[in-house]
Amino acid sequence: MADTLLSLENVYHRYSISRDIFNDISLNIKEGDFYFITGSSGAGKTTFLKLLSSSLRPTSGSVLFSGVNLNTIPQNKIYLIKRKIGFVFQDFRLLPHLTTYENVALPLKVQNKKEKNYKKDVVELLNWVNLEHCTHSYPNYLSGGEQQRAAIARAVISTPKLILADEPTGNVDYENSKKILSLFSEMNKLGTTIIIATHDESLISQQRASIINIENNGIRIQSK
C-alpha cells in the first residue's frame, strides 16, 4: 500500500464572502497516483492546485503534505515543501530577463546547486521538449507553445515528488501534447505523483488515470 502524499481534510475556500469556491472537501492522494482535474472554466481548478501546492491557505480545514500540515508549518520552512513540488502555471510565468536555459535551470539554482552538475541535464531536457533552438533565447521571443514547453521543463527538472500542471497542453499541437503526456507518464512510472488540470478530452482518454471533477463547490472522483 502506497503512502499518502496529500490529504485534504474538510477544506473550505472562498476568495470573497459572497461566493464559495470549495465547500467541505476531503480527499486522499497516494504517492504515485495520476489524476486529472476537470471542471468548467472558473470552477476552481487553479484554486485547487494552489491549495495543494501550499501557495494558498484554505479559509478553513487543512491540507497535509506527507503528513505535514501546511497551515501550521513555519513560514521559513515552507520552501522545503515547495522544493518537492513542480508547478506548471497556466500563464507559464517564465522570467523575461532570463534565457530559456536559465529559466529551466532556476529550480536547481534556487537550491544552490552547482551549474556544472546540472548543465547537461538541462540541455538534454530542452532537447527532449524540442526547444534546443531556443536555449539562449528570451521567453518573449518564443511562441506560446514553446513557452509552455519551457514551463513544463522547469517544473520537472528538479525531479519533484509531485507535479501539478495547470492546462499544460493548452497551447501546443496534438503531437507535442502527446509527447508532454508521455513525459508525465514516464515520470509517473518512476513514482512521481501527477495531477493535471485540463479541458482536453483527448488527453484524458490517452492516460489511465483517476478524474477529479470540480462542480457545485465540491469534487466528484471517478476512479480509474
Binding site: 501546492s53 513560514q75 520552501y79 510565468r93 534556487v110
Partner: protein, 212 residues
C-alpha cells in the same frame, strides 16, 4: 531606400543580439530604472566624503592646526565628523528607499522564486548582492574621482599660493601628505559597501518576512 534598409538591418542585428544572451543574467534584474540613479548619487556622495576626509587628514597634519586653541580643534573635529556621519546616513536612507523600490519592482520574480522553492535567505542574498554591487562600483568611482581631483588640484593650489604669498599655508595641500593617505581611498569604498549592504539587508529581511 538605402537608409531605411540600413535602419532595418541595424535594428534586426540588435534584436538578434538581444535574443542571444551574452553572459549569465542575474536573477534579480539589475537593469532597474533606479539602479543607474542610485549609482550616480552614491558616487557623488562618496566623492564628497573623499574630498572632505582627505582635506581633514591633511589639515590635522599641518603644524598650524595643532597650534589652534583646544576649542577650535574640538569644533572643527565635531563638525567634520558630523558632516561625514550625515552623508553616511543619507547613503543609508537612499539604499533603504532603493531596496523598497527594488522589492516592489521585482515582486513577480520574488514570488516565482519562492514558488520554485527558494528559501528566504536565497531571496535576501540576491537583493543584498545587487545593492552591494552598487555600493562597490559607486564607492570606487567616487573615491577615485576624489583622488584624481586632489592630484590635479595640488599643483594649481601651489601656483596660486606662489602668486599670493599671503594665502594661508593651510589651503596649500602638500602633495606628500596626500599620497601618504592612500588608505583613505581604500577605506571609503569599504565603508560605503558596508553601509549599502547592511542597510539593504536589514530592510529586505524585514520586508520578506512581512510579505512572503
Amino acid at each position: 531606400m538605402n537608409i531605411i534598409n540600413k535602419v532595418i538591418n541595424k535594428s534586426e542585428a540588435k534584436r538578434v543580439m538581444k535574443q542571444l544572451a551574452p553572459r549569465p543574467s542575474s536573477i534579480i534584474s539589475s537593469t532597474n530604472f533606479h539602479s543607474k540613479y542610485l549609482f550616480i548619487v552614491i558616487s557623488l556622495l562618496s566623492y564628497l566624503i573623499t574630498i572632505l576626509l582627505t582635506s581633514f587628514v591633511i589639515l590635522i597634519g599641518q603644524p598650524e592646526f595643532s597650534a589652534l586653541s583646544i576649542g577650535m580643534i574640538q569644533t572643527s573635529l565635531i563638525s567634520w565628523v558630523t558632516l561625514i556621519f550625515i552623508i553616511f546616513i543619507i547613503i543609508s536612507y537612499i539604499i533603504i528607499y532603493g531596496t523598497h523600490t527594488s522589492i516592489i519592482y521585482n515582486r513577480n520574480t520574488i514570488n516565482l522564486l519562492i514558488q520554485l522553492g527558494a528559501s528566504n535567505n536565497f531571496v535576501i542574498s540576491k537583493i543584498v548582492y545587487s545593492f552591494t554591487k552598487i555600493g562597490l562600483t559607486a564607492g570606487l568611482t567616487g573615491s577615485f574621482a576624489g583622488l584624481i581631483t586632489i592630484i590635479f588640484i595640488n599643483p594649481f593650489l601651489l601656483q596660486i599660493s606662489g602668486l599670493f604669498n599671503n594665502i594661508s599655508d593651510l589651503v596649500v595641500v602638500s602633495s606628500n601628505s596626500v599620497y601618504a593617505q592612500y588608505y583613505i581611498f581604500i577605506l571609503i569604498p569599504l565603508f560605503i559597501i558596508a553601509v549599502c549592504s547592511i542597510s539593504s539587508y536589514v530592510t529586505v529581511k524585514r520586508l520578506v518576512k512581512k510579505y512572503y
